[in-house]
C-alpha cells in the first residue's frame, strides 16, 4: 500500500498538479552495459523519475515454436535447452512431461527421482545467477564472483551427469539420456557444502547491508492483486505473499513425497524477491538430499560376473553380424556419449518400445533392437502420440513453465507452445518501474530475472 502512495506522489497522480516541465525520452537498451539481456525500454523521464515506460522485446527471437513443428518429438529437446539457458534441465523435463502426457505413459521411479534432483540443482544455479548478477549491477561485485563460484561447483555436477554444462539435452521422451554416475551423491554433498558456505557469506554481505537494503526495499514493488492479474508466478508471486508453487499445488514426478517449505514474503518488492530466492536455494538443496537418499535402484552394478567387455569390441562384433550370444554379455558403455548401458537403461526409461530408443548394445547386438531403433529414427516413423492436446506445467526457476503440445497423430508435433515464466513479469515491468528513479530500473530488472532465450523464444 505504501508503494501506491509513493507512485501517486512521484507521478502526481490524482492531484492534477504534475510538474509541468517537459519530459525527456531516454531509450535504455537494446544493448546496455548495465542490463544483462537484450531488451529495449523506452522511458519518459521527468527529472530522474520514470513517468512512462514501454518495454520492447523480441531481439532474441529464434522461432522456437516453428522449429519444433519441423522435426520429430525428440528433436525439439535441444531447442528447449536454449529457452532458459541457466536452468535448461527443467525445460527438458517440462517438454518431455507434456509429450508423455499426450502419449499416456509414465516414467520409471528412478527417472522421476533423477528429474527431481537435476531440476533442483538447476534451480539453484538459476537463483545464484540471478542474485549474483543483480547484486553486481548494484556494485557488489564480490557477491557475483562468490555466487558464480558456487554455480561452477553445481555445473560440474551437471556436467558429470549430462556430459555438457549448458546445452545439456538430457531429457528424453519416456526417460532421461543416462543414469547418474558413480559417486554422484558424494560429489553432490561436497558441492552443497561449498554452496552453503557461499550462501552464508552472501547473507552476511547483503542481507543486512545498509546500501543494498536502501536500493532494494520498497523498490519495484507490485501489489498482490496486480501480480496475480498479470499471471506472474514463481519467486515474484511468492514475494508478494501467495504461496503458489506448482511443485506443491499440482505435484509432478515425486515432489509429493518430499518435504520442503515454500518461502514467502509479503511486500512484493525487490528485497522480498531476493529473500525468497535465497530461501528457495536452501529448500532445493533439502529436496536433492532427500531425493538422493530415496532414489531407488542404488548404484549401478558395473559388471556382475567380473568380466568387463570393451564396448568398442562389442559394437564391432555387432556391426559384423556376429551377434550370437551378444545379448547375454553384460557390458558397460560410457553413460555420457554412447548411450546408457542396458541395466541402467531399463532403470531410467519407460518400458515402451514405441517411445524409447533401445540401449546401444541392443541396437548393435540384435536385429530386433536395430529395427526398433530404425522405427524411431527413420523419416516418417518415430514417436506418434494419438491425436489430442496436453498442457503440462512445471515449476521453473522463474515460475510456472508450461508446455502445450498438440498432436495430429503423426511423428511431428503439430504445435508446441511454451508458456515462458518470465514473459508475465516483463509485461508488468512498466508497472514496477513507473514512478521510480531511473537508477531503480536496474535492480528491478535484475529481480525479474529476464532470460532472453525463453522470453523471446
Amino acid at each position: 500500500m505504501a508503494q501506491t502512495t509513493q507512485r501517486e506522489f512521484m507521478l502526481g497522480e490524482g492531484s492534477g498538479t504534475g510538474s509541468g516541465s517537459q519530459n525527456l525520452r531516454v531509450g535504455v537498451g537494446p544493448a546496455h552495459p548495465a542490463m544483462h539481456g537484450i531488451i529495449r525500454i523506452t522511458t519518459e523521464l521527468d527529472g530522474e523519475v520514470i513517468v512512462k515506460a514501454d518495454v520492447e522485446i523480441g531481439y532474441l527471437h529464434r522461432a522456437f515454436e516453428k522449429d519444433c513443428e519441423e522435426g520429430g518429438y525428440n528433436n525439439a529437446i535441444p531447442f528447449t535447452d536454449r529457452l532458459n539457458y541457466v536452468s535448461p534441465l527443467i525445460n527438458n523435463f517440462g517438454y518431455c512431461a507434456a509429450v508423455e502426457k499426450l502419449l499416456g505413459i509414465d516414467v520409471t521411479e528412478r527417472c522421476k527421482y533423477i528429474r527431481v534432483i537435476m531440476s533442483e540443482i538447476s534451480r539453484i544455479c538459476d537463483h545464484l545467477t540471478c542474485i549474483g548478477a543483480s547484486a553486481m549491477e548494484l556494485g557488489a561485485f564480490t557477491v557475483f564472483l562468490y555466487m558464480i563460484k558456487a554455480r561452477e561447483f553445481l555445473w560440474e555436477l551437471v556436467e558429470d551427469v549430462t556430459g555438457a554444462r549448458l546445452t545439456i539435452s538430457y531429457g528424453r521422451v519416456g526417460g532421461v539420456k543416462a543414469d547418474l554416475p558413480d559417486g554422484f551423491a558424494e560429489r553432490t554433498a561436497k558441492a552443497f557444502k561449498e554452496t552453503r558456505e557461499v550462501l552464508d557469506e552472501v547473507h552476511r554481505l547483503l542481507t543486512g547491508n545498509r546500501i543494498f537494503m536502501d536500493r532494494m526495499i520498497g523498490v519495484g514493488a507490485l501489489s498482490r492483486e496486480e501480480t496475480i492479474a498479470y499471471a506472474i508466478t514463481g519467486p515474484l508471486l511468492r514475494a508478494a505473499g501467495v504461496p503458489y508453487d506448482v511443485r506443491r499445488a499440482q505435484p509432478y514426478d515425486v515432489y509429493d513425497r518430499l518435504e520442503f517449505e515454500i518461502p514467502t514474503q509479503k511486500d512484493g518488492d525487490n528485497y522480498s524477491r531476493y529473500l525468497v530466492r535465497m530461501a528457495e536455494m536452501e529448500q532445493s538443496m533439502r529436496i536433492v538430499e532427500q531425493a538422493l537418499a530415496m532414489v531407488p535402484g542404488g548404484p549401478i552394478n558395473v559388471d556382475f560376473e567380473g568380466r568387463p567387455v570393451d564396448p568398442a569390441w562389442y559394437v564391432d562384433r555387432g556391426k559384423q553380424g556376429k551377434t550370437e550370444g551378444l545379448l547375454l554379455v553384460p557390458i558397460t558403455l560410457s553413460p555420457n556419449l554412447l548411450g546408457s548401458e542396458r541395466p541402467a537403461h531399463e532403470r531410467i526409461n519407460a518400458h515402451d518400445k514405441r517411445v524409447v530408443l533401445p540401449p546401444k548394445e541392443t541396437t548393435y547386438g540384435s536385429i530386433e533392437g536395430l529395427m526398433n531403433h530404425f522405427m524411431l529414427i527413420m523419416e516418417g516413423n518415430g514417436i506418434r502420440p494419438p491425436r489430442g492436446e496436453a498442457y503440462v506445467a512445471v515449476e521453473g526457476a522463474n515460475g510456472e513453465l508450461g508446455f502445450y503440445v498438440v498432436s495430429d497423430g503423426t511423428d511431428r508435433p503439430y504445435r508446441v507452445r511454451c508458456r515462458p515464466p518470465c514473459l508475465p513479469p516483463m509485461a508488468a515491468l512498466h508497472r514496477m518501474i513507473e514512478g521510480q528513479m531511473v537508477a531503480d530500473l536496474i535492480p528491478t530488472f535484475g529481480s525479474v530475472n529476464m532470460i532472453g532465450g525463453e522470453l523471446d523464444r
Partner: protein, 165 residues
C-alpha cells in the same frame, strides 16, 4: 469443483454457446462461440466456485493442415485458466475463420492478455477487438506475414531491418 462438473456447469449456463466440451488426458476443454467468449471468460473469473484469477496462457493454433479439419474454422485461440483459490485448471477455446480472424479482447479482465494477444496477432494474424495497442510483440513492424501460420514456410528470408532512415 472438478473438471467434469465445471464443463457441465458451463453447458447448463451458456447452452448452445458452448459448442463442444471434452476431456483428454485429464485436461478439460470447452469450445465456446466468439459471441459468448467475453461473457464466459468474465463468468469464469468472477464466479466464486470457479474463481479463475489467472490467465496462465493465451495462444492460438492454426488448424489448416490438421487432418480432417482443413475445411473448418482455421484458427483456435486457446485460453488456459488457473484458479489459485481452488487449484484447478480449465482450457477455453474459440474458433475463428481466416477471413474473419477477430476475437474480443480480454485485456480488461486480465492485464496480462495485453502481451499474449499481441503475440497471437504477431504470430498468427488473429486480431483482438478492443485491444488498446495491438502491435507486434516479437517480430519487428516491417515484417511481412505471420510466421506461425502453417502456410508460412520456415525457410523464408526477409530483409533484416537497418537503422531507421
Amino acid at each position: 469443483m472438478d473438471g467434469a462438473a465445471m464443463l457441465a456447469e458451463l453447458r447448463a449456463r451458456f447452452g448452445s454457446d458452448v459448442v463442444e466440451t471434452h476431456e483428454h488426458r485429464g485436461d478439460h476443454t470447452a469450445v465456446v462461440t466468439r459471441e459468448a467468449l467475453r461473457r464466459v471468460l468474465a463468468w469464469c473469473r468472477d464466479e466464486p466456485s470457479l474463481a479463475f484469477e489467472m490467465l496462465t496462457d493465451l495462444t492460438a493454433v492454426d488448424y489448416v493442415k490438421y487432418p480432417g479439419r482443413q475445411d473448418g474454422p482455421r484458427f483456435e485461440v486457446v485460453y488456459h485458466l488457473y484458479s489459485l483459490t481452488h487449484n484447478h485448471r480449465l482450457r477455453l477455446k474459440v474458433r475463428v475463420d481466416e477471413d474473419d480472424a477477430l476475437v474480443p479482447t480480454a485485456v480488461d479482465l486480465w492485464p496480462i492478455a495485453d502481451w499474449f494477444e499481441r503475440e497471437v496477432w504477431d504470430m498468427f494474424g488473429v486480431r483482438f477487438a478492443g485491444h488498446p495497442d495491438l502491435r507486434r510483440l516479437l517480430m519487428y513492424e516491417e515484417f511481412v506475414g505471420h510466421p506461425l501460420r502453417k502456410d508460412y514456410p520456415i525457410d523464408r528470408r526477409q530483409p533484416l531491418i537497418g537503422p531507421a532512415s
